[in-house]
Amino acid sequence: MLKRLYRWLDLRIGVGEIVEKELTGYLLPRNINEWYSLGSVLLIIFALQVVTGMLLMIYYVPDADKAFKSVTFIMNEVPFGWLIRLCHAVGSNMMVAVLILHMLSTLLMGSYKAPRELNWVTGFTLLALVQGVSLTGYLAPWSQLSFWATTVATNSASAVPVVGPYLVEFLRGGKLVGPPTLGRFFALHAAVLPVVIAAFIGAHLFLLKRTGISAPPFGREGTANPFEAQQYHYQGHPGGIPFFPNYVLQDLTSISIYFAVFLAVVFFWPGMPFTPDAFVPADPFKTPAHIKPEWYFLANYQTLKIFPSELLGLSVQAAAMTFLALLPFIDRSPERHPLKRPIFLTLVIAGILLWIALSVWGHLS
C-alpha cells in the first residue's frame, strides 16, 4: 500500500530523485557522532512549542484582568489543560538546555570555523531569540512571578547611558509594568518572535546545505580544517554513511531520549518551571521577597549584582556576548581538535565553570 503510494508520487513528481539526493544519497562523515543529532532534537522541540502554544491560545486570554484566571482555568478545569501547559513551560526550559548543549558541541568540535562562520552567527542569534521568546512568555500568566521578574528584567535596561530610562519605558509601554506591557510582550511572544525564529532556523539549515556538514575532528589523522578560501566548495563526504536510514536512526534515538527526560520532568517534577509566586495573581503594589529569574538568566542576574555599577555589569555582559557571537572571526586557526588546542579548551572549561558558579551564586544569594 505505502509502496504503491510512493510509486504513484514518484511517477508524477519524482520523489525518488529527491530521496536519492537528500536522504539515501546524502552522505555524512563516517566518524559522525551523537552530538550532531541535537539540531534535529531542537527542531522537534521548537515544533512542539509551536503546537502547544497554539493549543494554549484557545483558552488563554491576553488581558491583564483575565490572564491569570484563564491560566488557572486551563490548569484546573480544561481536560488535560495542565498537560498542555506543562509541556509548553517545561519545553521552553528544555529548549534552552538543549540549545546550550548544541552550542557547546559545535564549539568544542570547532564546527564554527570557516566556512561555517555564518552557521554559528545564525545559531547564536537563535539563542538570543529563544531567550527573548522565553522572557516575553514569562509575563503571559500575569502572576506575581511574571510581573516582578519582568519588572526586574526590563529595569536592567535603565543602566544604558542617556536613553536608558526612556528605553525601559518603551519596553514596558508605560512607566511601570502594566496592561500595556502584557499587550506588547504577548504580541512578541506569540506572533513576532516565533516567525523570526522560524526564519532563522530556515537560514541556519540553508547554510548547512550550502557548506555541507562538518566532519568531527576525532578519530581521523587530519583534524585541521581543509577549507581554503579560494572558491566556493561544498564539503561532501564521499564514502560516508547515508543520512537515511543510518543517521535518521541516531536522530530518532536522541529524540526518544529527549522525550524520556522531558516527560519525566513533566510528570514527576511538574513544579520545575514554577515558584510559589507563580500561583498568586500579579499585584502591582506588593513586591514579593526573593524574585529570581529563570535558571538560564541567573548568571546574567548575578553579574549585574556583583558589579558596583549596573552600567559596568551590563557592558561586561554585552562584551562577552559580542565576543561569543563573533568567535569564528576572532579564533581563525584551522585546528579543530580540542585536545590540540589547550588554551582554547582551558578557556572553554573556565567559561563554563564561571557560568555555573555565577548561576549557583545567583540562585543562593
Binding site: 493549543l55 484557545i58 478545569e77 480544561v78 481536560p79 488535560f80 498537560l83 498542555i84
Partner: protein
C-alpha cells in the same frame, strides 16, 4: 527467510509503538479541544408572565441554544426553538404580521412553528412550558 520474519516482527513492533504514541498524544489533545459537557446552561427556565405583552415575543438562551417565547393576540403562550430549520440562522419576530421570518433565506413560520413559506424543511421545534402562579416555566 528467518531475516524476513525478524524484519516483519520489528516492523509490527515499531508500527504498534508509533500507534500507541499517537493515541497517547492524540487523546489528550482531543479531550482538550472537545466541547465541555455541562456547559449548556439550565434546561429549565422561569420567566415571570408579566414580562410579556400580547403579540410580543421574547428571545432567550435555553439549553445552550436560542429559543423564543411568544404570547399570541389570543393570549396563548408558545415556546419554540428560534433556530431556523433551513440553515440554522435565528428567526426574527415580525410583530405586524404575527409570524417569524428568517433573515437568511426568507423562511417564514407561524406562531406555532409551522412553515408558511420559503426553504425550511421542518417546523420550528416546540418546547414544553407550564404556567403556575404567574410564572412561566420552560422546559
Amino acid at each position: 527467510m528467518e531475516n524476513e520474519g525478524r524484519r516483519r516482527f520489528l516492523g509490527v513492533c515499531v508500527a504498534g509503538a508509533t500507534a500507541a504514541a499517537a493515541v497517547a498524544a492524540g487523546y489528550p489533545v482531543f479531550r482538550y479541544l472537545a466541547p465541555r459537557a455541562g456547559q449548556e446552561g439550565a434546561a429549565k427556565l422561569v420567566i415571570p408572565a408579566g414580562e410579556l405583552k400580547e403579540g410580543d415575543a421574547k428571545f432567550f438562551e435555553f439549553a445552550g441554544s436560542s429559543a423564543v417565547l411568544i404570547k399570541t393576540k389570543s393570549g396563548e403562550l408558545v415556546a419554540l426553538s428560534a433556530v431556523c430549520t433551513h440553515l440554522g440562522c435565528i428567526v426574527q419576530w415580525v410583530k405586524e404580521k404575527q409570524q417569524f421570518q428568517c433573515p437568511c433565506h426568507g423562511g417564514q413560520f407561524s406562531t406555532d412553528g409551522t412553515v408558511l413559506g420559503g426553504p425550511p424543511p421542518r417546523p420550528l421545534a416546540k418546547i414544553p412550558l407550564t404556567v403556575t402562579e404567574g410564572n412561566i416555566t420552560i422546559g
